[in-house]
């Protein structure tokens, strides 16, 4: 008799347990998990998705996403995302070394791959925050051309809508607002930068190619770091460069050290920070950072 009761109880328990299985998570209400490879994409995803997305930029704060390499743990995190947003144009040099689901990836710059800028004679640094690195191959700061940035945002939005078609209306509305902001930014840039297309300019790093092309800047790049005083030979090389390209303004990814700025001033070159914002800024957002960049540039005459 007791064994019958035990069997009966077990059956009831099992039947009940099946019935109270936690309901499978409704895909439609769970936030869309997006992993991005740089901050501009994070900004676009957050603007387009709002509260319906959970955006992760796995690059540590302060690191340069263009030269960051994910370890196995970071790759594992990316694998579990619903959408992997890539900049494209060779930005993610680590892509060939990792395993990521192809169908979850969106190359946001693929739509204008015929307009990538290729760098033929790149020079390799032997110093810099991450050690040796090079800017060879394809220029990858595509978002500094704000019209391209809008196209990247559009490509990203479409990928998000494919993943969550029930939010198409919301994503579209947010995209329109973002595009309006990017369009206004593009107008500001054309106004501020476009008026100085005859002016020779310098760049401390070869990361402003798309900015230069879009806004008609005569930009020559060298390879200097904001906190590392260049060697004498490099100052000499700069002087030679200035002889043929008499620039009065030099764009920097971050404010150079006072010593560098002072020395540049002796050469008649003003240093102005123009942050590419590849990683999340300490304060503000992408739009704010770009507006500040343009304002700073506009103030230099």
């Amino acid at each position: 008799m007791p064994s019958v009761i035990v069997r009966l109880a077990l059956s009831v328990f099992l039947l009940t347990a099946r019935g109270v299985q936690p309901a499978r998570a409704d895909l439609g209400t769970a936030p869309l998990r997006i992993v991005v490879s740089n901050y501009p994409l994070a900004y676009f995803a957050e603007r387009i998705g709002g509260s319906r997305v959970q955006v992760t930029l796995p690059v540590p704060a302060g690191a340069d996403p263009a030269f960051w390499k994910p370890d196995a743990k970071a790759v594992g995190l990316m694998q579990k995302a619903d959408l992997i947003a890539l900049n494209g144009a060779g930005f993610e040099k680590w892509l060939v070394h990792v395993s990521l689901p192809k169908l979850k990836q969106v190359d946001t710059a693929e739509g204008f791959h015929d307009r990538y800028i290729h760098i033929d004679n790149a020079v390799t640094h032997s110093h810099g925050p991450g050690g040796t690195h090079s800017h060879g191959g394809t220029a990858f700061t595509t978002w500094l051309d704000f019209e391209q940035a809008a196209r990247q945002a559009e490509t990203l939005a479409q990928a998000m809508m494919r993943k969550r078609p029930e939010f198409t209306a919301s994503f579209s509305e947010n995209l329109a607002a973002l595009n309006a902001d990017l369009k206004a930014l593009d107008s500001d840039a054309r106004r501020i930068l476009g008026g100085r297309t005859d002016e020779p300019l310098l760049a401390s790093h070869p990361v402003y190619q798309y900015l230069a092309r879009r806004y008609g800047l005569k930009l020559e790049s060298i390879h200097w770091e904001p906190d590392e005083m260049p060697a004498a030979a490099e100052w000499e090389a700069l002087a030679k460069l200035l002889a043929g390209h008499p620039a009065k303004t030099m764009l920097w990814e971050a404010e150079p050290s006072a010593a560098i700025a002072a020395r540049l001033k002796t050469l008649g070159v003003a240093a102005v920070a123009f942050e590419p914002a590849a990683n999340r800024p300490e304060s503000g957002d992408f739009l704010g950072v770009m507006k500040q960049n343009l304002e700073r540039f506009g103030r230099i005459r």
Binding site: A72, V75, V96, S99, K102, A122, T124
Partner: protein, 395 residues
Amino acid sequence: MLNHDFYLAWRYLSFHKTRSAILIACLSLMAFLPLGLHALLDDGERQMSGRAAATPLLVGAKGSSVDLTLTALYFSEAAAPAITLAEADLVGASGWADPLPLYSRFRIKGQPLVGVTLDYFDYRRLAPARGELPALLGDCVLGHEAAAALGLEPGDSLATTPENLFDLAGVYPLKLHVTGVLAQSGSPDDQAVFVDLKTTWVIEGLGHGHDQQTPAARHQSLPFAQAAAQLQVDARLVTYTEITAANIDSFHFHGDPAGYPISAVIALPHDRRGATLLKGRYLADDGTTQIIEPAIVTHGLLHNIFRIGALFDGILVLVGATTLLALGLVFSLSLRLRRRELETIFLLGCSRATVFKLVVAELALLGLASAILSGALLLAVDHYGESWIRQFLLS
């Protein structure tokens, strides 16, 4: 009296162990063979149909559709000719279907080595039971049975070897890192060692890493870039056999990846219209690729198997009838040999009816033992049939 009949029958059969064992074996085989064979065929049909149904469309080299199906679905050793990654790109670019390229050319210690993109695991609903999916170049994840056969766990290493005698020069021996073991799926995926598609290309020799590069020619090797200028490499160049955190950055590929080899593309159409449009693209006779529906190919294959099965049935009926006749002869001869015993028991008062019951009891016990043995054999088929089918029929 019934218990006396069975008691005497049991004593007789257990005294004549060899004779009884032979009779039981014959009867068991007679019962088991048709049932077991049909169970195996049913298992085979179920496996093949299930696997094929889960693979809507397959793009591969023109030629035998059976070879293509066996290569892509069952990772068979008789590999179909390769196609290029461009075919997967075409499928994806069409907008009608999602592509899952796979490359199953190699074998590693008897297990198929299959290069896939991570989407394959999502599609086949394969998840790690232990460890993780591959994350970096050189990682691998093992199917449930592959892990058992190779005796490996996450954290272990597994070396590829140039096993293909026809392609010694092209194969790049590589030490793979086992990152995980997949949960059992009851499919050919259990047998496989899975790596990222790019890792199979490293094994193929299409990608490699270097120890040092000379400063004069130092420029970052671009992933999949058109190699306009080869790297100037040191004469003391070392091509790596293990991809580690220290050397992974040096690994690169030459040439256009669209030209890299794959075995097939599993195409997942978005809808029926997409499937029709995609199939229509491959109708041209002059193309080098074909698109097939594995369910149709499998159906044809099974049809042939069933015809063989029907032939087996006919043969088994004949064999069974012959065996029964032989057994009947053995039994009647046995009774003749027991003449003295029968005379004794007649004299002791045994009726013909009782003698008949004694014989029936012996037959009943033999039948029961045969039923138990053939039942045990059928249970074994039920338990191991799936893996036997995969090993002997599908690999």
